[in-house]
Amino acid sequence: MSARIYLPPAADAQIRAHAAETYPYECCGALLGRELDRCREVLAPFPLINRRDDSPRNRFSVTSDDVRAAEKAARAGGCEVIGWYHSHPDHPSRPSEFDRQHAWPWYSYIIVSVAEGTPKEMNSWRLSDDRVQFSLEEIEVKLQASA
């Protein structure tokens, strides 16, 4: 069975709105959520500032301090950071080679494609244990994973 991630409609809307707001630059943020038996669930996105000011149209960066802030927020909410999201302005929602080089397995990496300012396709990816490739994780937009 392929991996699956549940995304509440409000979180889906929030990520898309963030991507539209920062267009033509990339947006980024953490996914606060929890691991369930055979899937995982996003409880809330945690928008962050793209720290790349040299090439924000095709790059994003979340500093380790921002990562620690997201982890702290997750702990305060009784959950954990289960992944990250970012946008690809005028580019498909699939990971680049640069994404692969800077990723860890286990995390869910949600990428939303933004075409001329309008958020379009959204995909979630997980890196393989050997770091060689990403595979798709099915996104289900649903109020609660158990619902």
Binding site: S55, F60, V62, D90, S96, F98, W104, D130
Partner: protein, 138 residues
């Protein structure tokens, strides 16, 4: 008080980040005797070999997006991997998250293409421009 012949215990705790716990017997932290960060990480990746490729590049350097803290201090602002550790210190491994839509080379090529298109649009009315438009139809 130290007695002759007694060795000083330098026990540090290494916290394993959640994504890497599957490669460390699902442990949240591990305790090691280590005098420096390098020694602690070396022991960690020797005990859990599968961790190594997620922390180090093939040529043995810590990956650019992997950050190491001793207590609350980023080792980049201390002595990097040679940062000494003392008994009771906590070492945290924290990723910085980076990525993007395309390689810089691809982005530059795309920009070149856009500039070329803009240039070509300016000469659409000319005979040269008509030929250029025809090249798309063929």
């Amino acid at each position: 008080m130290m007695f002759r012949g007694e060795t000083l215990k330098m026990s540090v705790k290494v916290i394993i980040p959640t994504p890497l716990r599957p490669y460390a017997d699902k442990r949240e932290s591990v305790q090691f005797e280590a005098k420096t960060v390098a020694e602690a990480l070396d022991r960690l990746t020797k005990q859990y070999v599968e961790l190594r490729k997620h922390l180090y590049t093939d040529d043995g350097k810590i990956r650019s997006f992997v950050n190491v803290y001793v207590n609350d201090e980023d080792i980049r602002y201390l002595l990097k991997e040679n940062t000494p550790t003392k008994d009771g210190d906590t070492i945290s491994i924290v990723p910085s998250i980076a990525g993007g839509s395309a390689s810089i080379a691809v982005a530059q090529l795309r920009n070149c293409f856009r500039l070329k298109c803009a240039f070509n649009l300016k000469r659409l009315g000319s005979i040269e421009g008509i030929r250029w438009r025809q090249s798309f139809i063929l």
